[in-house]
């Protein structure tokens, strides 16, 4: 190269050929041929499920429910028995979002999916195999239905309405998304049932700043009877106060109990009531969160007011990693003494002692 009068690099002459010889040695490996015959597995009448989701525990943590390949199951913790399928009205339909109804004899609320009618809810009693269809819910895509605690039959029903999904798109039934609450009366179990249908009433939208963009992280649960809702959405758990009702603008009080810095899932339980400025509030007793595919636990007394984080050198004080290989779908038992999570074909649990 040489420089011209303006200092730009230009060609300094004709290019020259640099002769060379290359020795190329090809080392081709022998083509691998799989020796495993997967024909029997592929053509088997039944195949095994190795991934579960939607894990929920009952009040004492002795039973859990989950979804596996479009069907919902109940597993008795600590027993060697296989999980039993939760009774349904249409065994060929896809069911999801199972949750226990507190203070009942293993009643499980779950959602049924239909590509034409979208979501409907069913209440199944696993002991008596009785199933009730819940009607009075408008057409829509719903997730995470839950029924409040309490000793009587009059309860509250809550669920989350979604704006769309990848299969059915986001053209129809996209309005008024968020949390809904309705009144529901559970059937009397001792009395002879005259109807297999439960009608809900007083359905209303609860305004909130729910994060709907990651559906798999959404979870809803009543706490303290039906006085408040524990909302778990992406990287956050918050409490929506229902008992005090909406303010003058129709808004309900929502308070974030714990958030994650990078954690997609933050779970909190139990939530204990305390008095702040003469007003009832909620605080974190224990928290567990999912960070970098691992499960971490921290006592509520160690929370420093910052988002939960797990990186060495910048972690929430007193955190403990509970998982060795990772996990997902963290959930607490109703009494907050047991924490569960899923990993592949395994359900994990740990008891948080007093």
């Amino acid at each position: 190269m040489k420089e011209d009068s303006r200092g730009e690099k230009v060609s300094g002459g004709d290019p020259e050929i640099i002769p060379y010889k290359a020795s190329i040695e090809k080392r081709l490996a022998e083509t691998g041929r799989p020796s495993t015959d997967i024909r029997r597995t592929e053509l088997a009448d039944k195949q095994r499920v190795y991934a579960f989701k939607g894990l929920k525990a009952d009040t004492t943590g002795e039973n859990v429910v989950f979804q596996a390949a479009g069907a919902t199951y109940l597993q008795k913790v600590g027993s060697s028995s296989s999980p039993t399928r939760i009774p349904v009205l249409d065994p060929s339909a896809a069911y999801y979002s199972p949750s226990f109804v507190p203070n009942t004899s293993q009643a499980v609320l779950q959602a049924k999916w239909s590509e034409s009618n979208f979501t409907s809810f069913e209440l199944g009693y696993t002991e008596t195999k009785t199933v009730y269809q819940i009607v009075g819910i408008p057409l829509g895509r719903y997730i995470s239905p839950t029924i409040s605690g309490g000793s009587g039959e009059s309860r509250k029903l809550a669920f989350i309405r979604l704006p769309g999904d990848p299969l059915t798109g986001d053209i129809v039934e996209t309005r008024n998304t968020g949390i809904y609450v309705a009144d529901i009366t559970l059937p009397q179990q001792n009395a002879q049932s005259v109807s297999s249908v439960i009608t809900v009433s007083n359905l209303q939208l609860i305004p909130s700043d729910i994060r709907l963009w990651e559906v798999s992280r959404l979870s809803l649960q009543f706490i303290h009877g039906s006085s408040a809702l524990l909302l778990q959405d992406y990287s956050r758990t918050s409490v929506i106060e229902l008992a005090s009702g909406p303010d003058q603008f129709g808004e309900y009080s929502q308070e974030a109990l714990a958030t994650g810095k990078t954690a997609p899932q933050v779970t909190v339980s139990p939530v204990i009531s305390n008095k702040k400025n003469g007003k009832a509030g909620y605080a974190v007793h224990d928290a567990a969160f999912l960070d970098f595919y691992h499960v971490y636990y921290v006592s509520g007394s160690n929370l420093d007011g910052e988002p939960l984080r797990s990186k060495p050198g910048d972690s929430t004080p007193g955190i403990q990693r509970l998982s060795l290989d990772g996990g997902h779908d963290l959930t607490w038992s109703g009494d907050g003494k047991r924490l569960f999570w899923l990993l592949g074909k395994l359900i994990h649990l740990i008891s948080i002692t007093s």
Partner: protein, 151 residues
């Protein structure tokens, strides 16, 4: 698989336990078999058998084109899997079977998967998937699946 958890000196957290969950589900093959049985008459023998005749078939048995390619071949499907492949005349077609004349075109394997996806057309990724799946099952290779659409 061993899992453990570090216990703090305060003893606040006890050890992690885990248990295996065994759940079985009905496979697509089973579902399709049921669908076939539901739409075929019980009286018609071999109604669930499909024979593709006059087809160009490339098996993957030896990995050599010369020995794997069958001109004017027959492909027989039953119960969701390939039951026979061979030169015309060497494979008996059961009475009552549904016969498709491929007219020299390449015959598809994994017919049920294709039936399932006909309405979606075939993407390159899907054909690649069929190829890999076919090989894993020791079946035959589909070179031009669009022949089936006109069949």
């Amino acid at each position: 698989m061993l899992h453990y958890v570090d216990v703090k000196s305060s003893g606040e957290v006890s050890s992690t336990k885990w248990e295996e969950v065994k759940v079985l589900f009905e496979s697509d093959v089973t579902r399709l078999k049921k669908d076939i049985k539901a739409i075929t008459s019980k009286d018609s023998l071999n109604a669930d058998v499909v024979a593709i005749v006059n087809a160009s078939v490339l098996t993957m048995q030896a990995g050599k084109f010369e020995s794997d390619f069958i001109d004017n071949g027959i492909l027989l499907y039953q119960d969701g899997e390939i039951s026979a492949v061979g030169k015309s005349g060497s494979v008996d077609i059961p009475t009552g079977a549904h016969v498709i004349n491929a007219q020299g075109g390449t015959a598809p394997s994994l017919f049920w998967f294709m039936r399932y996806s006909l309405t979606f057309r075939f993407s390159r990724a899907y054909c690649s998937w069929v190829y890999r799946r076919t090989r894993s099952l020791g079946g035959v290779y589909v070179t031009n699946t669009y022949h089936l659409l006109g069949a």
